[in-house]
């Protein structure tokens, strides 16, 4: 069965895939949701709180798209507003204070594109997350479970380990957006998808992600069991890194270096 990059994009967007909340409820025990950014409001597109991973307290943050029409509208289709990113940052700083690792699940076509989002500083909200995540003193793991749309996805993705499901995508722009800008033709999305190198394998080849997660049994207990023990194992490994922040700096410092000349 041969897959094209664009068919993977469609899979990544498929609304039968597990969403952020599915991961929260299946991987962790005793999730306590914590709302609000303490600045403006509570963004339903980002769900955050504290839970236990095989007994260990962790902070969990997930972008939630919703599945039914009603849920999707309530979750703004998983397109976070600035207050969503600020809630995420608040919870990450809280995790740092209490020495809890942070686990993020990313699934968004991009940050919310709207007048109010702009007026409340969407760009600044994302920038602050990027900046603060680079020096967070606790381990951070980010998992791309569906769409990884641009800065809106990266705002939860400055992590010590970044993983991608095999049919997730990660891109600087949607294939449709890219095609309409470059070729004035959104129908060329198929070509754009191939050119943008947005599949998990591409991201791994570019050194952007660390591991590709198999989707065998996706959404079923064996899948979650596997992911749970992988998360646990990796957190143990990261706990042994005495210069976690230095390693994270080095991880992102390398990005693109292989292409430089001069």
């Amino acid at each position: 069965m041969s897959q094209t990059p664009y068919s993977i994009v469609k899979k990544a967007r498929d609304n039968t895939r597990p969403t952020g909340l599915d991961y929260i409820h299946n991987l962790f025990q005793g999730f306590v949701e914590l709302h609000g950014d303490r600045r403006f409001g509570d963004d339903a597109a980002i769900v955050g709180g504290i839970a236990r991973l095989e007994g260990l307290p962790v902070t969990v943050i997930a972008i939630e798209k919703g599945r039914t029409a009603k849920e999707r509208s309530f979750r703004n289709f998983g397109a976070p507003n600035p207050e969503g990113y600020r809630k995420a940052l608040r919870l990450m700083k809280q995790a740092e204070k209490f020495g809890r690792p942070v686990i993020c699940f990313i699934d968004t076509s991009g940050a919310c594109c709207g007048v109010e989002a702009e007026e409340r500083g969407q760009g600044l909200a994302i920038a602050e997350n990027l900046m603060e995540m680079t020096t967070l003193c606790v381990p951070v793991i980010s998992v791309l479970i569906g769409e990884g749309g641009s800065g809106g996805a990266l705002a939860l993705g400055v992590a010590d380990r970044v993983w991608m499901l095999e049919n997730a995508v990660y891109s600087v722009i949607s294939p449709e957006g890219c095609a309409s800008i470059l070729w004035k033709d959104a129908a060329k999305a198929e070509t754009a998808a191939a050119s943008l190198k947005l599949t998990a394998q591409d991201a791994k080849d570019l050194g952007v992600i660390d591991e590709i997660l198999s989707e065998e049994n996706l959404g079923k207990q064996p899948f979650y069991q596997g992911l749970r023990s992988r998360l646990s194992r990796t957190l143990t490994e990261l706990a042994g890194d005495e210069d976690l922040v230095g390693s994270r700096y080095a991880r992102f410092r390398r990005m693109g270096a292989q292409f430089l000349q001069g």
Binding site: E119, Q122, G123, L124, T134, T135, V158, I173, R248
Partner: protein, 284 residues
């Protein structure tokens, strides 16, 4: 959503040459029509006034012109000038596009970095170029900015940066997206070292540059009328199908919403920057 929302018409490339063409005094002087007041302004008058129309409208300016405007003569020492990257993703047409832009602009990439003195105050300086693929950030722009902040930490220098950008460079895909994280990490280190970073946001500063190093400065200045935002206005209009408020994403409205420290016209930038540097350098 879309990251690169400000794509300039191709013909702006031509006017973005390295230096001003010498103005012929005799035969009918060339003029440029101001997009704001609609008056035709003689080019020589524009050049003499840092490309600002008498009505106050700030025209786009290339990076070398800006350097000359804010730095002390002869003080600028360029860093990483030869850094380039091919076509990381083998993106169709990107290699040719880069070659064309390099030819037309005389620059190798979309940002110029170095050290300089501004009214005697030494600092690290970066200036982005609107005539190089609209200052879009790819691996080279990200690397140069990152290196400059690292250099500034080593030498304990302030950083002054002029931003202009359509956002991340989509032809470099994920590699360009990652530059947002890379530059942010370097800005954070510089900030944690107790050093000053002043950004001057010029028209337009958008997308992935707004959402990374542009907004991360200690002090955020902007040029009058500059478009500053994350998502492009046209994209927002198409997505939401609502008309945009008057003055949306202009520096003036961004200031009103609390996201800028001050709007400074070109005529006052050198003085403002040197004063801010002096206030943080412990000098007089």
């Amino acid at each position: 959503m879309a990251f690169i929302n400000f794509i300039k018409p191709k013909n702006q490339l031509e006017e973005g040459g390295r230096t001003a063409a010498p103005v012929q005094e005799d035969a009918g002087e060339p003029e440029k029509t101001c997009p704001n007041c609609r008056k035709a302004i003689p080019l020589s008058r524009l050049w003499a006034n840092h490309l600002v129309c008498p009505c106050g409208c700030h025209f786009r300016m290339n990076a070398r012109q800006r350097l000359a405007m804010v730095t002390d003569p002869g003080s600028f020492r360029e860093l990483y000038a030869d850094l380039t990257a091919g076509n990381p993703l083998d993106f169709p047409g990107y290699g040719e596009k880069l070659a064309t832009v390099r030819n037309a602009s005389g620059e190798k990439e979309g940002v110029i970095c170095g050290t300089a003195a501004i009214d005697g105050q030494k600092c690290c300086l970066f200036v982005m170029d609107p005539y190089f693929m609209m200052g879009s950030m790819g691996s080279v722009v990200g690397e140069k900015i990152t290196r400059l902040f690292e250099y500034a930490v080593e030498r304990r220098l302030s950083v002054v940066g002029f931003t202009v950008s359509g956002g991340a460079r989509m032809q470099e895909g994920l590699v360009s997206l990652m530059q947002m994280a890379k530059t942010s990490a370097a800005v954070k280190r510089h900030s944690d070292a107790g050093l000053l970073y002043v950004a001057v946001l010029t028209d337009p500063t958008t997308g992935g540059v707004t959402a990374s190093f542009a907004m991360e400065a200690d002090i955020l200045l902007a040029e009058p009328g500059a478009t500053i935002g994350f998502a492009g206005a046209r994209v927002i209009e198409q997505t939401t199908r609502k008309s945009l408020p008057k003055g949306f994403q202009t520096a003036e409205s961004v200031l009103q919403h609390g996201f800028l420290d001050s709007i400074v016209p070109r005529s006052g930038q050198k003085q403002m920057l040197s004063e801010l540097l002096r206030l943080h350098n412990g000098g007089v």
